[in-house]
């Protein structure tokens, strides 16, 4: 028993090391005083300072933030609606197809999604003259389409677990369907909506592949900028930038996780209490 647990702990350490040593070393080297990425030149925050005065990087960061905010919000609205439809309308024409179509992008290679989006934009430009050029709008649209799937999945699973009778009870007490949505359904799924938004936000913020396909000249998001800079060699300011990005993304995912986890714990406790009460 003891030996096995030592073995498991070792495995765990290796696993974590595999994942996080690269990131950690990058973080450490972002405080490197030397210009050479491979030589330690003492602790310094000068790369962070230089980032702040780099217009190119700041613009790219701002653009990424804008796209992420807008696409996450839109994806949350659309994804929530799809999730509610899937969870609450058990029978409608084409439900199976709809549910398949909603979740397929989860497993679709990003390259395919990227190419498909690009093809669509090119064809649309040809047929209806819009979008005339690719840039902010096309990137945002593409991000919405692939991040709303995550919102849909989270909202769907949260709402399927909630008792549909609760919504019926509200209607029975005199609420019209839209009031039921506002008073009951949305509060119940609010943790799922918030964590869905955070996921969509972080996914959009660090996307390279799909952005690369759907962006145009003059629209450079932060990950794209990093990507193009890295091709010329890793510089410490990139390390600093990446460290900031990791922190933002990590915080977003962590908050989403905590929110979902708390909702789940509460649900578990409710279920346990209900069970005990029935004893």
């Amino acid at each position: 028993m003891r030996r096995r647990s030592t073995f498991l702990v070792t495995m765990l350490c290796f696993g974590f090391a595999f994942f996080y040593v690269p990131i950690l070393s990058m973080m450490v080297y972002s405080f490197n005083g030397s210009r050479l990425a491979t030589v330690w030149g003492g602790f310094s925050t000068k790369w962070y300072v230089s980032l702040l005065s780099n217009r190119q990087i700041l613009n790219a960061a701002l653009l990424s933030l804008k796209i992420a905010l807008l696409s996450a919000t839109m994806a949350t609205i659309l994804g929530t609606m799809a999730g509610i439809a899937l969870a609450r309308f058990k029978r409608f024409r084409g439900r199976t197809l709809f549910s398949g179509l909603v979740t397929a992008p989860l497993v679709m290679p990003e390259v395919i999604t990227g190419i498909a989006s690009l093809m669509l934009f090119i064809l649309m430009a040809e047929w209806i003259g819009w979008p005339a050029s690719r840039g902010f709008t096309t990137v945002t649209l593409a991000h919405i389409t692939f991040s709303m799937v995550f919102v849909t999945t989270i909202v769907h699973s949260r709402l399927s677990e909630a008792d549909a009778a609760v919504e019926e009870a509200a209607m029975d007490l005199g609420s019209r369907p839209w009031q039921v949505m506002k008073d009951i359904t949305l509060p119940i799924i609010s943790p799922a909506i918030v964590s869905g938004w955070l996921l969509a936000f972080t996914i959009s913020l660090d996307d390279v592949v799909i952005t690369n396909f759907t962006t145009g000249p003059g629209t450079t998001t932060l990950p794209i900028l990093i990507w193009s800079k890295v091709k010329l060699g890793v510089t410490p300011d990139i390390n600093a930038l990446a460290t900031i990005t990791v922190c933002i993304v990590g915080t977003g995912v962590a908050i989403a996780g905590v929110i979902l986890n708390r909702a789940e714990k509460r649900r578990d406790r409710d279920a346990r209490m209900a069970y005990q009460a029935n004893q």
């Binding site: 009778a165 609760v166 009870a169 029975d172 019209r176 009951i184």
Partner: protein, 393 residues
């Protein structure tokens, strides 16, 4: 061994007052029905969940829908509340046609089997929720909520969330929430199913008390026959989406109209029989399994030679060691007996090999040897002609 709570009264009432197929209490002749369900049928695809149900319920009644799992009780309730549109038929409440109204426009509230409390609201907010659609001032609302919490004795839990109170308390919140709007009709779907036996009995009486105080008409769904008999003024026994019999607890227990109802409520002995002679009050039937003729209470439309079912409730059978001069007396042997304290259940083997259940109240405090009969004893069983029920199907 289920035994209806009102047995004593029922026995007293087993005279002539009630008659088979008694449909409504005496008052109903004058008053127009408060709720009228007219030929309601509900199909899900090809499956018929509720089949041609016609029901009339009076104001202030506690009416029970009783039946096995899947017989369509919940579906019928959901039709009344407006969650399911009937495939055929109409629903009237207080003279108004409700069939096409959505749930939020019906003067009906429902207490859900799962209670369906709003998890993100306090007890107080739960109870107050329905009132926000009423034309009331804030003070009136607060007053009503206070009254309701008082009624269900939950005032001190007003600020708790549903997951912070016990199952029985949750059930009372659900009741208070449904009553707060003072609906004309309250539908209760297995309101006590989630409670333990003790709490259930206690809550039954609470429910009856609240019904008396508020005067609301209750329709209670249950699959527990004791609960139905304790609670309700009248009940309907359902099977496979159909209503088999409607009547008071006494009616359906003492005057079942079919084998299904007789077997569903309480326990009963069935015998295959053939009609020999018929009279105004009684009929003679031949029962091979008992080894003789039985004088039974006559039912309309009997013809000599007709095959029929004889039914006798175990507690209506008298056991004795000596033969005496009573009608419908037959010999048997005690195969086994189970002692339950207040009564004992005997399994009597008849000479034909058929086993009959006999229930005998342990009225006297007796030791092992002083019992009416013991294992392997030869006994005589007898029952009154009025206790011999004839059933056509």
């Amino acid at each position: 061994m289920p035994e209806p709570a009102r047995t004593a009264d029922q026995r007293a009432a087993t005279t002539v007052a009630a008659f088979p197929g008694a449909q409504l209490p005496q008052t109903s002749v004058k008053a127009p029905p408060f709720i009228r369900i007219e030929h309601v049928t509900k199909r899900f695809g090809t499956f018929t969940a509720v089949s041609d149900v016609t029901l009339e319920i009076q104001k202030g009644e506690i009416f029970s829908l009783l039946g096995g799992s899947g017989c369509g009780k919940t579906t019928l309730l959901r039709v009344l509340a407006g969650f399911e549109a009937p495939t055929e038929g109409r629903v009237f409440i207080d003279g108004q046609d409700m069939t096409d109204l959505p749930p939020y426009e019906r003067p009906v509230n429902m207490m859900f089997q799962s209670y369906a409390l709003f998890p993100h609201m306090t007890v107080e907010k739960n109870v107050a929720y329905g009132l926000k659609h009423e034309d009331m001032t804030g003070a009136q609302r607060a007053e009503r909520v206070r009254e309701m919490l008082d009624l269900v004795q939950l005032t001190e839990f007003a600020q708790r969330k549903p997951h912070q109170i016990s199952g029985g308390q949750r059930q009372r919140v659900a009741l208070a929430r449904a009553l707060a709007k003072q609906p004309k009709l309250l539908l209760l779907d297995e309101p006590l199913a989630a409670l333990d036996k003790k709490l259930r009995e206690h809550t039954q009486f609470e429910l009856m008390e609240i019904q008396e105080k508020t005067g609301t008409t209750f329709i209670v769904v249950t699959h527990d026959q004791e609960e139905a008999m304790t609670l309700s003024s009248r009940l309907a026994v359902m099977d496979k989406g159909r209503i088999m019999q409607i009547g008071t607890a006494t009616d359906v227990y003492e005057y079942p109209n079919s084998r299904f109802v007789a077997g569903f409520i309480g326990s009963i002995n069935f015998f295959e029989a053939t009609v020999r002679t018929t009279g105004a009050e009684t009929a003679e039937v031949e029962v091979p399994d008992l080894g003789g003729n039985v004088t039974a209470r006559a039912i309309p439309g009997l013809a000599p030679g007709q095959p029929i079912t004889l039914a006798v409730r175990p507690e209506k059978v008298h056991l004795a060691r000596k033969r005496h001069d009573l009608p419908n007396t037959f010999p048997g042997t005690v195969q086994s007996l189970a002692y339950f304290g207040k009564d004992s259940l005997y399994r009597i083997v008849l000479p034909s090999g058929h086993v009959m259940l006999v229930n005998s109240v342990n009225a006297r405090r007796a030791g092992e040897h002083e019992r009416v009969a013991d294992w392997e004893d030869a006994v005589f069983l007898s029952f009154d002609p009025a206790a011999a029920i004839l059933l056509k199907d």
